[in-house]
C-alpha cells in the first residue's frame, strides 16, 4: 500500500481532475492518492469523479480554501 501526493495547488478546474485520473491509472489497488487543491470547483469535481468510478473518497479542509482529496483505489 503506497501513498502518493499530487500537488494541484493553483490549478484551475478541470486540470486537477485530469491529473488525478492519469495518476490513478498508475496506482495499484489499495493505494492512496492525495490530491491537494485550492480551486473550489475541483473540490466538487474530483470527489464526484472518484466516487462515480467506485473509489473511496474523503475530503479534508486543511486550510482556508485549501483541500486534500484522499482517494483509495478500490478497483
Amino acid at each position: 500500500m503506497k501513498e502518493v501526493k499530487l500537488d494541484c495547488l493553483g490549478e484551475a478546474c478541470p486540470i486537477p481532475m485530469l491529473k488525478a485520473e492519469k495518476k490513478m491509472a498508475e496506482l495499484a489497488i489499495g493505494d492512496y492518492l492525495i490530491v491537494q487543491i485550492d480551486h473550489s470547483c475541483a473540490m466538487k469535481n474530483v470527489p464526484d469523479w472518484a466516487r462515480l468510478h467506485g473509489h473511496n473518497v474523503e475530503v479534508e479542509e486543511v486550510g482556508d480554501g485549501e483541500w486534500e482529496v484522499i482517494i483509495e483505489k478500490v478497483k
Binding site: C13, P14, C41, W49, E60, V62, G63, D64
Partner: protein, 217 residues
C-alpha cells in the same frame, strides 16, 4: 488510514464578518439614497454570489463535464434552473402583457445569427481555459484564487473590445430572425413547448451519463 496533513491553525473570522456586514449595510443605505435600484441590485448580487459559492454551482462544468467525463449532474441542474426561471419569467412577462404594459426584458431577445454561433464557440473555449464563466470567475476572485484575477482582467478587456466592435457584429445580424416564442405560439403553448424541450434535454443528459459512466447519482 493515511497520514493527514495537520490542519493549519485558524484565526476567528467572526470580527471580519461582522465588520463586512456593517460596511455593506452602510454602503447599501448610501446607494439607496442615490438610487433605490442600486441598493436592490447590491442585495441581489450578494445573494446570488453567496448561493453560487456555497452550492459550488459551475456553469462551465455543466457544459464541459458531459464531454470530459460524461457526468451530466451539473448540466441537469442547469436545465432544472432554467425550467424554474421559465415559470417565474413567464408569469412576470404575461402579467405585463395582460396589463398592457411594456414587457420587461424584451431587449434580451437577441438575433439568431452567425455572431451568436461564433460568440458561443469563443466563449465556450475561453471559459474552459480560464476555468470559469463570468459568474464563476467573479466568485473565485472573491475566494482569492489568483489565476482568476488574470481571467477577470482579460474578461473586462474582452468585453470592452466586444462593445467596440459591436456595430460590425450587428451588420451580420441585419437579416437574422429574433424569435420570442409567445409571439409565435401564444403564451400557453410557448410555455408548454419550452418545458417539453427542457424535459427532453434533461432526459438526453440523464441517458448520456448512464451510457458514458454507467451510473447516475
Amino acid at each position: 488510514m493515511t497520514e493527514k496533513t495537520k490542519r493549519k491553525p485558524k484565526s476567528s473570522q467572526l470580527p471580519f464578518a461582522l465588520a463586512l456586514v456593517i460596511a455593506l449595510v452602510v454602503f447599501g443605505n448610501w446607494l439607496f439614497g442615490i438610487n433605490p435600484t442600486l441598493a436592490i441590485a447590491l442585495a441581489f448580487g450578494i445573494a446570488f454570489g453567496y448561493v453560487l459559492q456555497r452550492s459550488r454551482f459551475c456553469f462551465t462544468a455543466a457544459f464541459r463535464d458531459p464531454w470530459l467525463t460524461g457526468s451530466t449532474s451539473l448540466a441537469r441542474a442547469v436545465v432544472v434552473a432554467i425550467a424554474l426561471a421559465t415559470v417565474g419569467f413567464t408569469l412576470i412577462k404575461y402579467k405585463a402583457f395582460l396589463g398592457e404594459q411594456t414587457i420587461p426584458g424584451m431587449h434580451s431577445v437577441g438575433a439568431i445569427g452567425i455572431p451568436l454561433v461564433l460568440g458561443g464557440i469563443m466563449f465556450g473555449v475561453g471559459m474552459v481555459i480560464a476555468g470559469g464563466c463570468a459568474s464563476g470567475t467573479l466568485m473565485r476572485v472573491g475566494e482569492g484564487f489568483q489565476m482568476q484575477i488574470i481571467s477577470l482582467f482579460f474578461f473586462m478587456v474582452g468585453s470592452l473590445w466586444g462593445v467596440h466592435d459591436l456595430p460590425f457584429w450587428n451588420t451580420l445580424n441585419t437579416n437574422a430572425p429574433k424569435i420570442f416564442l409567445p409571439d409565435v405560439f401564444g403564451w400557453g403553448l410557448a410555455f408548454v413547448i419550452q418545458m417539453l424541450a427542457l424535459f427532453a434535454v434533461y432526459l438526453i443528459a440523464y441517458y448520456w451519463q448512464k451510457k458514458r459512466m454507467g451510473e447516475v447519482e
